[in-house]
């Protein structure tokens, strides 16, 4: 069947949903239900994590194709199947999702006190949808997971969010839905052209150049909102600020990667001509995003909002890398997505720590925390440095590779993208200074507690990952070397064949 000997991807995908059903069946008074829900959710997500580690160990990095492929007839008469599989590009995103979910559940252990059962069920459903989306090898199945993510996320923001949660939840929902429905039309057009929705087959299909342009624009509408690219990023700060900590973590850690993953999985391999045609446009938008949102981040008064804008800037680096179409650029984009998934998730958790204690995210409300919370100061510093891109941390490798890749294409893109890193250092260090240094001016900050063992348990894996990715990146890049090389080769071959065809026509 596959390297693991059992349908491991389906198991990883659907097990959280099963856990959700178990939680649904719990009866008793409120405290019992809440405690049972927490533990069941934690254990389910940990089992899923262990299973995905099996995936990690058994994955063969030398193979650039899809592995652990499962296939079931679903709508055979329309050539639509339930097909799952991972390649070097998607396998680490599966892991990212399964690592972050238990951490989020741990982080919500005490901060979520109302409707705990429903929260845990939503989170497990969210995990199913995220993992399923990264594993799907059929476009219809992919689309279903891609859009179904909205349901649990809408509820998480809307039920457990901050004061303006309803506005943020509705905005999030409608923004992303508008993008996805246009992608649906593109998907239908591809389905009718190719006669199948099998993703590996679609990658080999050559779509006419005129059609590619329209398809690319439809995909752009969907993925650009998800990434998010300037100027359709405005839902993100709202959603981040209002979402509960765990929601922000998943939003930054995984949901933003869905857009980048979409570009890499669909736009670039399936529409090579249109991708090449639109690359300058994508560069322009990305560079604007990097510079503009970094400047906006400098002016923020709210910690979560600042990190949200920094996310937009970092994802701008990702889109620059992807559209260089060379190995360094794409590898850098992948690495940047992964490191951003860990680092920005960690930064939201860092904010969550003080928010749980003081119930404010306003930067001016804090100051001098380093005196009272040395361990916290250390953790915050580490992730700040990683976000800035200090060599030796996760953030450096990705940005460096992207800039190397961009230099081969266009000096100014590389130069302006690099300028974003400098601005990044500015706003992150400014944030750190205002929150951690100086004198404590408020009474409640004098008695603030340092990290609890539970919080250490949340941060420890992220610290290890951040350092590991920074010091020995090959253990991650090794996974996608073969896949990226195949992708770049495929892209160049596709462009060449177009040029040849054009030559014949003339």
């Amino acid at each position: 069947m596959n390297a693991a000997g059992f349908p491991i991807l389906s198991l990883i995908t659907w097990l959280p949903l099963l856990g959700g059903l178990v939680i649904l069946s719990v009866r008793g008074d409120e405290a019992t239900v809440a405690s049972n829900a927490r533990w069941t959710a934690l254990w389910t997500s940990l089992i899923v994590l262990v299973l995905s580690l099996v995936l990690w160990v058994k994955f063969d990095p030398t193979d650039g194709g899809f592995q652990f492929v499962e296939s079931l007839a679903w709508l055979p008469q329309y050539k639509v199947g339930y097909k799952m599989g991972v390649d070097g590009i998607s396998v680490l995103f599966v892991l990212l999702s399964t690592v972050l979910t238990p951490l989020c559940i741990l982080a919500s252990w005490e901060s979520i006190q109302t409707r705990v059962r429903e929260f845990m069920i939503s989170f497990l459903i969210l995990e199913t949808m995220m993992v399923g989306m990264f594993c799907a090898l059929d476009f219809i199945v992919f689309y279903m997971f891609f859009e179904a993510v909205l349901i649990p996320m809408y509820l998480i923001i809307g039920v457990w969010g901050g004061p303006r949660r309803v506005y943020a939840a509705v905005k999030f929902f409608l923004y992303t839905l508008t993008g996805s429905v246009l992608m649906l039309l593109a998907l239908l057009a591809m389905w009718l052209y190719a006669g199948t929705t099998d993703i590996p087959t679609l990658m080999e299909t050559k779509f006419p150049a005129g059609m590619q342009t329209w398809l690319f624009l439809a995909f752009l509408a969907s993925f650009a909102v998800k990434v998010p690219m300037w100027p359709v990023h405005t839902w993100l700060p709202d959603a981040h600020v209002e979402a509960p900590t765990a929601g922000s973590v998943i939003l930054a850690g995984v949901l933003l990667k869905m857009g980048g993953y979409g570009f890499l999985r669909f736009s670039i391999p399936m529409l090579p001509d249109a991708s090449a045609y639109f690359a300058p446009f994508m560069f322009t938008m990305s560079v604007i995003a990097v510079i503009y949102t970094s400047l906006v981040a400098l002016a923020q008064e709210d910690m979560k909002k600042l990190i949200a804008y920094s996310s937009v800037a970092h994802m701008g680096i990702v889109t620059i890398g992807m559209f260089t179409f060379n190995e360094q650029g794409i590898q850098g984009a992948l690495f940047q997505m992964l490191s951003h998934g860990v680092v920005s998730a960690a930064l939201f958790l860092v904010v969550g720590v003080v928010y749980d204690r003081i119930h404010s995210r306003e930067i001016a409300r804090y100051g001098g925390l380093a005196d009272r919370m040395p361990a916290y100061a250390f953790v915050f510093m580490l992730f700040t440095m990683a976000s800035v891109g200090l060599p030796g941390t996760a953030g450096f490798v990705g940005e460096f590779l992207v800039i190397v890749g961009a230099l081969q294409v266009n000096f100014w893109v590389a130069m302006l993208g690099g300028a974003g890193m400098i601005l990044g250092a500015a706003y992150m260090l400014y944030l750190y200074r205002r929150v951690m240094f100086g004198r404590i001016t408020r009474d409640d900050l004098l008695h603030i507690m340092d990290l609890s063992p539970r919080e250490w348990a949340v941060f420890a894996p992220l610290i290890v990952l951040t350092m590991w990715m920074g010091i020995y990146p090959s253990s991650f890049t090794g996974f996608w070397d073969a896949s990226v090389a195949a992708m770049v080769k495929h892209h160049l071959a596709a462009l060449e064949s177009t040029v040849k065809l054009a030559g014949i026509a003339h």
Partner: protein
């Protein structure tokens, strides 16, 4: 003369008359028993439809094929579920009379004849049998002003539409000399075969039927009638008659006038676009959930018409799948609306739902599933309904329709998720009265169908495929 073909209709009509006699002769109130008999009658008719022979009878006026069977099964299921929902509600509202299930039954017979008609005359007979029963049903709460108003409004406007339809039929007959679908089809093999008078006739027929499916611009009656009629009647209006009218529209446009596609396609496209847009925009400002569902149904009919506009068997397949899924979603949603009772009185404001998720999590979950499904969010059945429609539209090259369709579905999503917002995000209000068991069963059954359709889509889609092949050859 092969009268066996109409056995389900004949048997159902006889059962109806028997129940009527039974109800009149018994001195005490026998509403419950009559409802049970009616549901039994629907079951027997359903079995007869499934096992019945196919073919054309009554000198070609009546046809029993897989298209008719598909729609009849849908209509019968819709009727039976509505009868279950109506029983308890009517009793509590003091309008629990045995005529209610009987009228539903006769309307259902009319709908079954509509789906099987193969002649403009049979079509009209079925339509009128259905409509007459529905007029009475709309005004069934005779002491309630709103209900009487709804009945009267529906009667007047529907009669007008019937008049237009009859006028169209007479024009078609006058310019072609026949009312038989197959003969018309044989006569009109190319758009050039049709005289202008005949085209005018087709347009009038189309208008009459568009009124019945409440497509824009013939939708005006829908919000008032939906709001005014007793809620179980609204459930019925929104499900079975919609299926029947859409089936009739499909057959009339496809079989006799199928070769005139270029003549009527643009009309359907315009109606579809207007319905989708109006359904999406007008629903935003509603505060009454029944009125909101009326606009929502207008929008959904727009999506279904989009499938017809394509004019291929894929399009018709899309419409049939859509109607099946839509009927389940609507009955489920209205089941939830019927559960909205406080201290013995029914409430129908959207704000009455606030905080339902804490008072009654199961009902809130069911309604959330229906709302996400009506909005067309994946994994729910509503997504697949739209998928098949858009697939057909893209295949037919109707890009305008497809783009307008997906964009209006986003606008529509706004008001569907607003209901979820009210249920999940707002402060809880007073709890609703306990739900009757029958209602819970109906809501659970339709909810499970809606939520888990994605696991087993094949039976419905295959049946629709077979049915669609019959009428678009």
């Amino acid at each position: 003369m092969n009268w066996i073909l109409a056995l389900p209709e004949i048997v159902l009509a006889c059962i109806g008359m028997a129940i009527l006699v039974f109800g009149v002769l018994r001195k005490q109130d026998e509403t419950q028993l009559c409802t049970m008999f009616t549901i039994g009658g629907f079951l027997i008719a359903g079995l007869l439809v499934i096992s019945g022979a196919g073919g054309s009878g009554y000198h070609g006026q009546f046809v029993a094929d897989s298209f008719a069977a598909f729609n009849k099964i849908l209509i019968l299921i819709g009727g039976a579920l509505t009868a279950v929902l109506a029983l308890d509600w009517n009793r509590k509202e003091g309008i629990g009379r045995f005529e209610f299930p009987v009228l539903m039954l006769f309307a259902t017979v009319g709908m079954m004849i509509m789906t099987s008609s193969s002649n403009l005359m049979t079509m009209y007979l079925g339509l009128e049998l259905q409509s007459l029963a529905l007029y009475v049903l709309a005004a069934f709460a005779r002491d309630d002003v709103r209900s009487s108003e709804a009945g009267l409004k529906y009667f007047v406007l529907s009669s007008l539409a019937s008049g237009l339809l009859l006028y169209g039929v007479s024009l078609v007959y006058g310019f072609s000399g026949t009312m038989d679908f197959n003969q018309l089809s044989a006569m009109l093999t190319a758009p050039s075969d049709a005289s202008p008078g005949l085209i005018v006739g087709v347009v009038f027929v189309l208008v009459g039927l568009a009124f019945k499916v409440s497509a824009v611009p013939f939708h005006m009656w829908t919000p008032d009638v939906y709001e005014g009629a007793p809620t179980p009647v609204t459930v019925f209006f929104a499900s079975a008659p919609k299926v029947a009218a859409m089936a009739l529209l499909l057959r009339v446009m496809a079989t006799p006038f199928g070769h005139l596609l270029v003549s009527w396609q643009s009309l359907i496209v315009i109606m579809a676009i207007c319905s989708m847009v109006l359904g999406a925009l007008a629903a935003i400002g509603q505060t009454n959930i029944k009125r909101l569902m009326a606009y929502s149904s207008i929008g959904h009919m727009g999506y279904a018409l989009a499938g017809l506009a394509v004019g291929t068997s894929e399009g018709v397949r899309g419409v049939l799948v859509y109607m099946a899924i839509y009927a389940a979603m609507t009955i489920g949603t209205f089941g939830c609306i019927l559960a909205m009772r406080r201290q013995g009185k029914s409430v129908e404001k959207i704000s009455d739902l606030s905080g339902l998720s804490s008072n009654d999590p199961a009902l809130a979950l069911a309604l959330a599933v229906f709302m996400f499904s009506l909005a067309g969010i994946p994994l729910m059945s509503g997504f697949f309904a739209k998928l098949y429609i858009f697939l057909a539209a893209v295949q037919g090259g109707l890009w305008t329709l497809a783009v307008v369709g997906v964009l209006t579905s986003v606008v529509g999503a706004f008001y569907y998720i607003r209901i979820i917002k009210v249920m999940y995000f707002d402060q809880p209000g007073e709890a609703f009265d306990p739900r009757p068991a029958g209602l819970s069963v109906v809501v659970a059954a339709t909810g499970l169908f809606t939520a888990f359709f994605f696991l087993f889509p094949a039976p419905v889609v295959d049946a629709a495929q077979v049915a669609a092949k019959v009428i678009f050859r």
